[in-house]
Symmetry: C2
Subunit: 255 residues, 2 copies
């Protein structure tokens, strides 16, 4: 039987602690090929590099692990892996572990989830993993201990085409960790708070800050609230933006 092939990418770049942890988690399950951005791609969402060429180079090569670094976005990494790098369609795609939450509406801004979602378009079981701290030296020990059980379930059950998983971990000790909870994406938006700086020419420039506004704080079944209770949230993700309820409403407009 052919060895399992696992693609890994992320949005924090190939040198992050999160991706190193994910590689360690994945290696028992097959040959791992990493195709990851050379630089930080946080907030890159589902973006693709259309106006400039993509370059990648092999950075590490052993029998059971290869690493490629790429000058583009997480979605570029997945497209390049599937089109130019991998010998065949991988059996599993893992993205992350992201340093920072991708729960709630953050999923749409996330490069980590962009990569996982892109892989799901090609029928590859895909999981994006994140932890709710931006600490570059985040403690991933709970993820390392518990994510293998999830990966085994994904390999056992497979996933429907176009469906991926958005998994977010709380920051807590293993003793306080409540396990996985299947959730919906929390209804929410970002409240923006631009931090003004003055550039060297004396002109204002702004860094985007802000915080997530949870508009369903009492919903026990959404990811943001599960995380607050020390569950790791799992949201099954499917990209069909159509608002089917609104279709009937729009038809009444007699356009």
């Amino acid at each position: 039987m052919e060895e399992r092939l696992i693609l890994i990418s992320n949005d924090d770049g190939i040198s992050s602690k999160g991706i190193d942890t994910l590689i360690r988690i994945a290696q028992p399950y097959g040959k791992v090929v990493v195709v990851a951005p050379v630089s930080v791609q946080s907030g890159k969402s589902h973006s693709v590099s259309l106006t400039r060429p993509i370059r990648f180079e092999k950075q590490y090569d052993s029998e059971r692990l290869e690493k490629y670094v790429l000058n583009g976005t997480p979605v570029d990494c997945v497209k390049s892996a599937l089109t130019k790098i991998l010998p065949r369609k991988p059996d599993l795609m893992l993205s992350g572990i992201n340093h920072g939450s991708n729960s709630a509406i953050s999923v749409i801004y996330s490069g980590t989830m962009g990569a996982a979602i892109e892989a799901s378009f090609y029928g590859i079981p895909s999981v994006g993993l994140s932890i709710v701290t931006h600490d570059l030296d985040a403690d991933f020990s709970v993820v390392e201990k518990t994510a293998p059980a999830l990966i085994e379930k994904v390999l056992e059950h497979g996933m429907p085409e176009m469906v991926s998983l958005n998994v977010n971990y709380p920051v807590c000790e293993l003793d306080d960790f409540k396990g996985f909870k299947v959730c919906s994406q929390t209804k929410s938006y970002w409240y923006e708070d631009f931090e003004e700086t003055i550039d060297k020419n004396g002109n204002p420039a702004y860094y985007q800050r802000g915080h997530l506004v949870n508009v369903e704080p009492d919903n026990d079944n959404c990811d943001e609230n599960a995380l607050a209770e020390n569950y790791a949230s799992i949201v099954p993700i499917k990209v069909d933006f159509t608002d089917y309820k609104m279709i009937d409403e729009l038809k009444k407009w007699n356009l």
Copy 2:
């Protein structure tokens, strides 16, 4: 009564023919404020600039039209407009007119739709408009003649929070135009075809090409097929990535 305030952005940049056309279409309905990228942002999806500062400057100022150019993505433009530029929440947000189709799965890669979707998060009725040709000198005359009726309906009915419209126009003469058709997002994915070039150091570099694969060619009610019949497709868009059907399935995994 206070004059209506209309925000316009796009992803082709502030100098494109598409945004000029959209400004002309919008002006009869209120004061127009344009906040648009300085450079082409095609394929930027919902990305935000998190690691570098945002700058914008006023390029044009008259009583009924202001234009700001910004060094970021379409979503950066909307966030900056709402946070730093506009005196109040706008009554309408229009994005485009994009030179190139944003039908089917292209909606997730689209900067044009990124901007419209972002505005919808803040309860602003939002419409993204595109035409299915990348021609920089595209003929927008059918859009100019027919989009006003759609805008009037949006202003009359309003839109639920979090819902925007993805409107795509075919390339055809007015006589052949069949009108608007309310549709679902076509199930589809991009088949990648990387074009190899050799850079000045003799190394390979790749441009992403490819084409959309329509996996429901017989569905009369999806946008891709409506466009092929010379309808302008309207897909109501709501961003909840949760696959609710899969939630029950996942719960059976006993994680």
